[in-house]
Symmetry: C2
Subunit: 143 residues, 2 copies
Amino acid sequence: MIKTNNIEATFHLAHAIKQQLNNQLETQHLGISHMHVRVLKTISETPCSTAMDIAGLFKRDKAQITRLVNYLIDQKLVTKKANPNDKRSQFLELTVTGKALQQQLKALSDNVENRMIMGIKEKDLEIFTQVSEQMKSNIVEHL
Amino acid sequence: MIKTNNIEATFHLAHAIKQQLNNQLETQHLGISHMHVRVLKTISETPCSTAMDIAGLFKRDKAQITRLVNYLIDQKLVTKKANPNDKRSQFLELTVTGKALQQQLKALSDNVENRMIMGIKEKDLEIFTQVSEQMKSNIVEHL
DNA sequence: CAAACTGGATGATAATGTCAACCATATAAA
DNA sequence: TTTATATGGTTGACATTATCATCCAGTTTG
């Protein structure tokens, strides 16, 4: 028997975060959406990441990632570098402008996250992180 | 300083749940999406709910709710009942078919949620629920 | 009563997401 | 090694999700 509704709670939370991030991006006129933020973050943290890597990480169709990445390339925030091991794929890197923006975006995200976790005990936060990780695995492994 | 990334974790989890729900809805040929499931659930749990109530609850534009609800009315899953206090708005109710479907959907959702929480301690689950609730409030109150 | 406001419908449009087809390259099998 | 198969990425088509502006009918306030 389920008393709580963690599915609904998760939808609510994710949507609230998305709205908050998009609000901030809008008011700061950054010209990108929360999905671009996620892609930039991944590229900045993952050396030699490819479009397929991001698609796998996000569980999105590669078509969508291609479009997100190509938009960022148009905006001169990201560049492609040849992958010596495979001429089909290309490594993604931030440009100088991209790195500068990424700094801003990190500040913005940290800001939202800090507000989000206000008044929550460190210990509880750790449990939250672990549990959400576990939940994701439970679902993804079942696909 | 942030070490964990609860924003990213929440996006991952919400997306995994959404995919899983839509998969199940697809394989069972139910002809609705996870958003319709949420609307049906809300109507079934909230007597005299209106489109505006749902929009407020979900933090969505009323236009989207109108469309979701009208689709469900087309499918003869929901009906409108006059609101004696306000002729502009109408109370939403499940039809007999809607109630039957709602039973199936509850089973389906519980199934997904039960799989999702497998191997997670009851105590940790409670903390997860509380923390996600708190996080949502922290964000929503800041808008 | 007039002015301002609200619930809901609708048109326009943007962002997100998936699927299928395609091309170039890579890998496995014959 | 030549063929077959699989993979990374691009593109077109399309569905879903979401917002905004506008409108209408009905409500509330001044």
